[in-house]
Amino acid sequence: MNGGLLVRALRDPASLGPDTDWSGLVSAARAEQLAGTLAMRMAGCDVPPRVAAIFASARRDAAYARTQALWEAEMARRALADLDVPVVLLKGTAFYAADLDACAGRSVGDLDILVPRADIERVEQALLAAGWERLKPADGYDDQYYRQWMHEIAPLIHRTRDRMIDVHHTILPLTARPTPDAESLIADSVELESGLRILAPADIIVHAAAHLIADGDLAGGLRNLWDIDRLLRQFAAADPAFWTTLEERAVRHQLRGAVRRAVRLSHQLYATPVPDGWRAWRPADALFRARLLARNAWGQERRKLLRFAFYVRSHWLRMPPLMLARHLWTKARRGRQPG
C-alpha cells in the first residue's frame, strides 16, 4: 500500500532513500490531494531531477491555490461587507488567510464560510446579488433537503469565476447526533486584519476532527489528518494550556470522541507529539488507519469492502435510521445513487 509510503514521506522526508518508488509516491500524493504538501515538505531533500521538477510544479500549483482561495474570500468579504455579519472562514481558506503552518502546499477546493444561522438568508441574498448563483433547482428535493437538514445551504457558484461557496451555519448536519455549539464557535472566533474571521485554535481542531471522523467517509482523509497534525503542533507550541482548552471545547461541542480519535490517528500516522493521556489506542482505530492508507502505488483505491463500510457509516452518522431510509428511498425513486 502506497498510502504508507506517502505517510512516511510526509512524516520523515529525509528517510526516503534512492530506492524509493518515486512514481508510486507521486501518484498516491496526487490522488490524496497532497502533492503540493509533499513538495513543500521535501523541499531541499535529495530527489531525482524528474521528481524535483514535479515538486516544483506542485509548489506553483499551491501558489495558485493560495491566490484563488484568498481572492474568493476577499470577493465574499466585499459582497457581505454591508451586512455587518461576522463571516468566519473555514478549512483551507482559513489556513491561508491566517498563514497557519497547515497551509504549506495545500490545495483548496470550495470557499467554506460560517455565519450565524439567523443571518443565513441575508447572506445568501447578498451573494446572489453579487454574482453567485444557485447550483441546483431551487424547488427541487435537494434544496429542500439542504434547508431542512443540513449544516449549510446548497452550494452557490459564481457566474464568471466558476468557483463555489459553501455557506454553513454550524459544522455538522442538524441530523447528526452531536450538536456543536454554533453560537460559541462564532462568539470565540478571531478577527483577522481584513475583517474576516477564523475559528479559535481549539475549535479549528474540533471542526477538522468533526469533518474527518464524525461526518464523511474518510475519502481523502490523509490530507485532513495532515492538517490536524500541523495545527496541533503549531497550537500546542504557542499555548501551554492548549490541550486543556481542546478537551474543554471538544466536550462543549459534543465531539470528544471524534477529537480524541483524530488526535490518536495523527499521533500514530504522523508522529504528532501529544500528551500521555491522549494516546491510549482503541481497537477500532486500526480500521480507521487501514481505511486512511487504502491507496496503492498506481494511485488506485483498495479495500473495497472497508471503504464501503465507511461509506455506509457516514450516512448512518448523519441521519437517524428512519430518516436515512426515507432519504435513500426518495433518492432512489429519482434514479440516483445514494450520496
Partner: protein, 89 residues
C-alpha cells in the same frame, strides 16, 4: 448620480500590456487576466488619484476627455467591480 464611492486596486497590483488599442491586464491579487477596452483603463487611471463616487469620477474624466452618455458610467463601474478591479469603499 452620486451612489457608492469606489476604490481602485493599487497600481502595483496590475501588470499591463497595451495591444492594438486594447490592454492586457494581469491582476496579481486574483491571478486573473483581463482584456480591457476604453473607457475602462481611463476610469481606472482616474480612480487611482483616490476614491471617488460617480459624480467625482465624471468630473475627473471630463477634465481630460470629451464625451457624452454620463449615465453609462454605472454600467462601466459595475463591470470593473465584478472583475474585482474596483471595490466599494
Amino acid at each position: 448620480m452620486a451612489g457608492p464611492t469606489y476604490i481602485a486596486d493599487d497600481l502595483y497590483e496590475l501588470v499591463t500590456v497595451p495591444l492594438d488599442g486594447l490592454s492586457l491586464v494581469y491582476h496579481e491579487p486574483s491571478g486573473a487576466t483581463h482584456i480591457v477596452a476604453p473607457p475602462a483603463p481611463e476610469i481606472l487611471e482616474a480612480l487611482m488619484e483616490g476614491p471617488a463616487d460617480a459624480t467625482e469620477l465624471l468630473r475627473r474624466l471630463h477634465a481630460r476627455y470629451e464625451f457624452d452618455g454620463d449615465e453609462v458610467i454605472h454600467v462601466r463601474l459595475g463591470e470593473l467591480e465584478e472583475a474585482g478591479l474596483v471595490r466599494r469603499a
